[in-house]
């Protein structure tokens, strides 16, 4: 880590920033929790996505999720301040989770003058790409206001489309918003959803899985000219095969972009279900 670095970027585990990337860029990840009855697990630390899927397959009751405590954010922030750095923290959207509130309370206690909390307005790599963009800038020695501005700008340039094999999990998880109008569908559909203005919204209702996967790529293609996208991540929960195919397709479609593949964490997995596949993109400035 460079000595001239002035800012630590913090995010939560729903951002789905791959561990290797977080470690390389010095992003600190605060875990949310997954609760099976009385048992509670820290996302990604005490419960991996594979372990979640095994438990879900064996349990008739779906797990619930909960935000990190104020204390967990406070200790992360304190550690950064003690190391002589300011903090910029981007969280899952405040309309989806209480995480932003917890981080804000922690900042208030620890050092409001040195900590900026940003409501990410969305989740998974839709906030993960902005966190990464901010961390890249922080590595170059930028100060807190510049890193925060970069993260805010990147949230405007990021986008997310997710296709669900079933609506069951998002429905039971309660993070439903306008997706509710899909639940009563008389026909079986594979909805494509996104997050707009902080809420989960239905984008299209596709009837078959393969067509939905193709449509996900098309929607990404419609995001802008080929040279406009700098980063693309294909996210999956359960089976990786479809994500691999999609990554290969996007790589040939967007030769100038960095196309990665990533696994959604256990909290996202809880709300999306094993059959979810997503594409998160970041446009260039």
């Amino acid at each position: 880590m460079s000595d001239k670095q002035q800012v630590t970027v913090v995010t939560d585990s729903t951002a789905d920033v791959p561990a290797a990337v977080a470690s390389e860029l010095g992003i600190v990840v605060v875990p949310l929790r997954i609760n099976f009855g009385q048992e509670s697990f820290r996302d990604g630390i005490e419960l991996t996505t594979d372990e979640l899927l095994q438990r879900m397959a064996g349990s008739p009751v779906l797990p619930t999720t909960s935000q990190p405590t104020v204390g967990e954010f406070a200790s992360v922030f304190q550690e950064a301040l003690d190391a002589g750095r300011d903090v910029v923290c981007i969280t899952i959207g405040s309309k989806l989770s209480g995480t932003f509130q917890a981080a804000s309370s922690a900042a208030e206690q620890i050092g409001p003058d040195r900590i900026t909390i940003i409501d990410g307005g969305s989740t998974t790599m839709h906030i993960g790409w902005p966190a990464i963009a901010g961390a890249r800038m922080a590595r170059q020695g930028a100060q807190r206001s510049d890193v925060a501005a970069e993260i805010r700008s990147a949230t405007e340039r990021a986008n997310l489309f997710v296709v669900l094999k079933t609506l069951e999990y998002v429905y039971k998880g309660g993070r439903i918003g306008k997706v509710g109008q899909l639940v009563g569908s008389a026909l079986n559909i594979k909805p494509i959803i996104s997050v707009r203005d902080g809420r989960v919204v239905p984008i299209e209702r596709i009837r078959t899985w393969n067509k939905a996967l193709r449509r996900l790529v098309e929607l990404t293609r419609e995001e802008g000219d080929i040279s406009e996208l700098s980063d693309i991540m294909v996210l999956y929960v359960g089976e990786r095969e479809d994500a691999d195919t999609m990554q290969a397709e996007l790589t040939s479609l967007f030769p100038e972009a960095h196309v990665a593949i990533g696994r959604a964490g256990a909290v996202i997995g809880t709300h999306v279900g094993p059959g979810g596949i997503g594409i998160a993109t970041l446009r260039r400035r």
Partner: protein, 560 residues
């Protein structure tokens, strides 16, 4: 025939109106004959019915005109009434013929044969212009035949009756040639139905001008198809939610059948009896608790044929269970009502059947205009749905090729912004609706929907209402037929066999999903057999079976 009055030489507003009133009656009287000319042997958008109802709309508009109204005023009102009442493509074209007729007369007070010839010429020109790609061998050709003959005759014989006689003759000549112009008519062995309607209207006008206003006996003209349709309609009316017992259908072929006593005796064995026929054959429909008793009794009149027995109690139970499931879903709490309205785009779809309507609504349709295969909604009904829609931008899904033109008319009649996505089937509507995106503009949505509407293949299974030989495929009335994207694909006596062959004819590579809508009065057993057949033939595909509740079409299947 009445003692004829003098043939009329000049028409005023009143005699023109009388002429059209009789012409509409005359067309209505021959409606079944026109319906029977449908090329495809399917119970589909009947041209005779559509034209007769369109004329009814035209007459409604002149019902309260002043006795001294001019021919120009009467014609103008007829045109407006026909426009609003237009049903089906033939109705829309008829409304354009009347529109041209009215503008051709301009504001004339009276008309003679020369004025009539000019009005007919303008009617023909206007109708041609109204159709994007005019096809010869249709009612357009027949109308032009009438106009050309009227013009030639009017110089020498300018009396109204003389010009009408010439016009009618010219129309008939053109009609007779339609099978030479359209191969599909030749194959089906019929003349063009819309053209026949035009001939009947001109015939009616001529008879009115000659003072010969008796309606002829048409019982011999109206062939089996018309009777079959009337029979089906009557039977349809009788199948309500309360139905129980066995829906029993069969034919008896015999000699010297005492139809009256047979009808009375059979009707006494159950409810909702519909029994038609003559002394050589009876067609029977009855709801009986003991169908065996009915069949045994009928045997005394001759041989039984086309026996079909469905358990309605089971059907009714299935139906009410499905209704319960639907209302349970409707009662589910977390859906915010405000979320259900697309910000400012409403979607209106034409459909028949509760289950199909529900499926469309669950994919984002705002309101349903009832109609489809046999009853095409009028322009006015579509317009009213547009006007009452909770948005200023409206997307119309006609879901039938014969409703697309009427839907297109609506755009010109309302202050709202209307776009027609020209869907020709329910499966096309489902495909189009999947891409509807609340984030997008009206035009972007319409472009996406049009691009998506052919993503699915539409298969329909129904029964032939007439004998026909199309593309070398012989079909007998009553046989099961299969259609792929509106084209006749297969025919046969065994339903499952027809289904299998139709699905194969659809040539969908590696299908992923079959969405089956089961028609009303289709037994649970028949639906289950079809589902098993699909599951065995395409083990990797998903199969969804819904109660569609549509009339006439036993199954509508979307293949994706």
């Amino acid at each position: 025939m009445n003692a004829t009055t003098h043939p009329q030489a000049v028409w005023n507003g009143k005699t023109l109106r009388d002429g059209f009133i009789f012409a509409a009656d005359y067309l209505q009287h021959h409606r079944d004959h026109v319906n029977a000319l449908n090329v495809f042997p399917v119970p589909d958008g009947d041209t005779g019915t559509n034209m007769a109802l369109t004329m009814q709309g035209a007459l409604d508009a002149v019902a309260d005109t002043a006795p001294d109204a001019t021919v120009g005023q009467i014609a103008e009102r007829l045109a407006h009434g026909a426009l609003m009442g237009a049903r089906g493509n033939s109705g829309v074209i008829l409304s354009q013929i009347l529109r041209g007729f009215a503008t051709g007369l301009d504001a004339a007070i009276e008309m003679d044969g020369r004025d009539l010839a000019r009005a007919l010429a303008n009617a023909s020109a206007t109708a041609y212009k109204a159709v994007m790609r005019p096809v010869e061998g249709t009612m357009l050709t027949v109308t032009r035949g009438a106009a050309d003959a009227a013009r030639e005759s009017s110089a020498a014989h300018p009396a109204i009756a003389d010009v009408l006689r010439a016009a009618r003759h010219g129309a008939q000549m053109a009609l007779d040639k339609t099978p030479e112009q359209l191969d599909i008519l030749r194959q089906a062995g019929v003349v063009d139905a819309g053209g026949q309607g035009v001939v009947y209207l001109l015939d009616g006008l001529l008879r009115s001008a000659l003072g010969d206003t008796n309606l002829p006996d048409v019982s011999r003209i109206a062939g089996a198809p018309g009777e079959e349709m009337a029979f089906l309609d009557m039977v349809d009316d009788l199948h309500g939610e309360e139905a129980f017992g066995y829906c029993t259908n069969f034919m008896v072929h015999g000699t010297n059948i005492d139809t009256d006593s047979a009808r009375n005796a059979i009707a006494a064995m159950g409810q909702s009896a519909v029994i038609v026929g003559d002394d050589s054959a009876l067609k029977v429909h009855i709801h009986a608790l003991n169908p065996g008793e009915v069949l045994s009794y009928a045997l005394r009149f001759g041989e039984l044929d086309q026996i079909k027995i469905d358990n309605m109690s089971l059907q009714t139970e299935t139906l009410s269970a499905q209704r319960k499931a639907v209302s349970a879903r409707a009662a589910r709490p977390p859906v915010d009502a405000a979320d259900l309205v697309h910000d400012d785009i409403a979607i209106i779809a034409v459909a028949a059947g509760a289950g199909i309507s529900e499926a469309l609504i669950s994919l984002g349709v705002t309101s349903i205009v009832s109609g489809g295969q046999t009853m095409n909604p009028s322009t006015k009904e579509l317009l009213e749905a547009v006007e009452t829609a909770p948005a200023n931008q409206v997307i119309l899904l006609p879901n039938n090729k014969n409703i697309i033109m009427a839907a297109n008319q609506v755009a010109n009649l309302t202050g709202k912004t209307v776009r027609v996505v020209p869907t020709r089937s329910i499966p096309a509507a489902l495909s189009a609706l999947t891409t509807f995106n609340t984030d997008q503009s009206l035009d972007d949505n319409v472009a996406d929907m049009i691009a998506a509407m052919d993503d699915s293949c539409a298969v329909a299974i129904t029964r032939a209402v007439r004998d026909v030989d199309l593309h070398g495929l012989p079909v007998t009335a009553g046989q099961v037929i299969g259609l792929v994207n509106d084209e006749l694909a297969t025919a046969g006596d065994d339903e499952l066999d027809v289904v299998r062959r139709t699905m194969t004819a659809a040539e969908v590579d590696d299908p992923e999903l079959f969405t089956v809508f089961v028609g009303e009065n289709v037994s649970q057993d028949d639906a289950t057999s079809l589902e098993s057949l699909l599951a065995e033939t395409w083990p990797n595909a998903e199969i969804e079976v819904h109660h569609g509740g549509q009339p006439h079409y036993r199954f509508i299947v979307s293949i994706e």
